[in-house]
């Protein structure tokens, strides 16, 4: 068994009724235990690529293989079980606002049928990791954006998934919170979790110095993203 966790081979995708391919002929690999950033302008196909990995959509052409499984062969009844192997983090946090922080983080464990004591222990460990142990009884809306995102991250990692996918996790956060969140991803990666983060925060990407997969109009290119702070500068040249 090789060490490749995610493999895209000549993957193309278009949405029904869409004008053209959102992704065309995408090839890339992510090693197990690797952390990479997915960059590109809005509409370049970052979210679509993550959706294909999470089986929220299926590739029209080419094949996506995750942990040795060809996703084209995962039956719809097995999609939920597949998704439980992946931790997902969203730009809008996707928390359940009628339950406490604790209950939000506990949800993936409840779905998996863990025992109550086990759940309490694991949830507290996850909340401790993201530094929110003291807020376990709070309702999500009483938290700041950065804290809500950390709850989302705790929920994603509480089941110790092999892979974390994050779609614009810092899109709604101020720079300081964004940096905390990115450092958090780096810490998870340090203990062996593979991480793929789609982001516009180029300055953070550059500071972390991880591999960058850059998309332009649905294709992977060798070009490098330009940080927002330097866009006008680059255009002047």
């Amino acid at each position: 068994m090789n060490n490749t966790l995610i493999q895209f081979s000549q993957v193309s995708h278009r949405y029904p009724g869409g004008a053209g391919d959102v992704l065309s002929d995408v090839n890339f690999e992510l090693e197990a235990g690797e952390m990479a950033f997915l960059t590109g302008a809005s509409g370049a196909g970052k979210s679509t690529l993550l959706r294909l990995i999470a089986l929220l959509a299926r590739a029209h052409r080419g094949q996506v293989v995750v942990a040795g499984t060809n996703l084209a062969h995962v039956k719809s009844a097995k999609v939920a079980a597949y998704r439980r192997q992946v931790g997902m983090i969203f730009q809008n946090f996707n928390l359940l606002y009628d339950r406490s922080v604790f209950d939000n983080v506990a949800l993936p464990l409840v779905i998996r049928g863990h025992a109550h004591l086990d759940i309490a222990r694991k949830v507290r460990a996850a909340l401790d990791t993201v530094g929110l142990l003291h807020r376990e009884r709070s309702m999500p809306l009483t938290l700041s954006g950065g804290e809500q995102q950390r709850v989302g991250i705790a929920r994603a990692v509480v089941t110790k998934p092999m892979l974390l996918l994050a779609d614009e996790p810092t899109g709604n956060l101020d720079p300081e919170m964004a940096w905390d969140v990115m450092k958090l991803f780096e810490r998870f990666n340090d203990v062996g979790v593979s991480v793929l983060v789609a982001t516009h925060a180029i300055d953070l990407v550059e500071r972390l110095g991880k591999r960058v997969i850059h998309l332009e109009a649905g294709r992977v290119t060798d070009k490098r993203p330009v940080a927002a702070s330097r866009v006008s500068l680059a255009e002047a040249h």
Partner: protein
């Protein structure tokens, strides 16, 4: 951060997990109901009315049946004796029969007494005068004990007609048979109304839960995003349907009790006018259980039907 170290996760066994999850959903859905009872109570009231209608029909039929049984006891049976049986034997037989288990009393009418009664009551007295001899047989009038049902009466009648002295045993209960037939029709009507209103309950529960599913669309999307299987997403709604059905069943029982309370006194007065001590009887234990269980089952079915349809339509974007 201890990651990927405890691979052998100590998950409880299948049965424990199932029990734990059902207990959790039980309290979760009950909590939702208690926290926002308005809509649910309204739905439960409608279900209650729908369940109370067929149940009250059934109750009415049961009571009429009891009434017809008690009337059955007042029915008399006429044993027409053979011409060869003389008066002394006839009187002996009447005395013998009065000692039978299900017989209350007997009365012997000789041929002459029969003729006299015929003259008095039939209005065809002159017809007898045209005949040479008295054509009427001697009769033993048998009054059965009260409270016998149709089958017991038929058995008694069969036994009496088999006696060697008896030419013909006549049981005058045609009108009771007619009442029985009418009650059978009413029973069928009750079943039909019950079936139709059960469908109505399914629709009511379905509609309430459809709105519930819509209101919780985001929550459902999030759950599907983090890998919740359909059964997990569905379960709270199924429990919600059961709660609605249970509340509806209780409401139906409440309505029935109120109805009985309102009707009881006039019914008693009516019975008194007929010199009867008949009282309307309430639903039996099995009827009560049937109404409540029926409500729960219908709630569950309605929930399943609507949730299966609408949950699959909600996919995370």
């Amino acid at each position: 951060m201890a990651r990927a170290t405890d691979q052998a996760e100590a998950k409880p066994g299948f049965l424990t997990r199932l029990t734990q999850d059902h207990a959790r959903v039980f309290f979760f859905s009950l909590g939702k109901l208690v926290n926002a009872p308005g809509n649910a109570l309204f739905t439960a009231a409608v279900i209650g009315i729908a369940l109370a209608l067929p149940a009250s029909l059934q109750l009415a039929v049961n009571n009429f049946q009891r009434l017809s049984y008690s009337w059955q006891g007042s029915v008399q049976m006429s044993l027409f004796l053979k011409g060869t049986v003389d008066e002394a034997r006839g009187r002996d037989l009447a005395t013998e029969l009065s000692k039978y288990g299900s017989v209350k009393s007997t009365q012997y009418l000789s041929r002459e007494q029969s003729a006299a009664e015929f003259r008095e009551f039939s209005g065809f007295g002159e017809a007898l005068d045209l005949l040479d001899a008295n054509p009427l047989p001697a009769v033993i009038v048998v009054t059965p004990l009260p409270g016998r049902n149709a089958a017991q009466m038929a058995e008694l009648s069969g036994m009496l007609s088999a006696l060697p002295e008896v030419e013909l045993a006549q049981l005058d209960q045609h009108w009771l048979e007619r009442l029985d037939a009418i009650l059978r029709i009413l029973q069928r009507v009750g079943l039909l109304v019950g079936a139709l209103l059960s469908v109505a309950v399914l629709v009511i529960v379905g509609n309430t839960l459809r709105l519930d599913v819509e209101a919780r669309r985001e929550e459902i999307e999030v759950m599907k995003l983090i890998g919740a299987p359909d059964s997990f997403v569905r379960r709270p709604f199924l429990y919600g349907g059961c709660w609605l059905g249970l509340l509806g069943g209780w409401f139906a029982l409440l309505l029935l009790t109120l109805g009985l309370f309102v009707i009881d006194r006039p019914a008693q007065e009516l019975a008194a006018l007929y010199g009867s001590s008949f009282r309307i009887s309430g639903p039996t234990t099995s009827t009560v259980l049937g109404i409540v269980a029926g409500g729960v089952v219908l709630g569950w079915l309605g929930a399943w039907w609507t949730v299966a349809k609408h949950l699959s339509a909600i996919q995370p974007r």
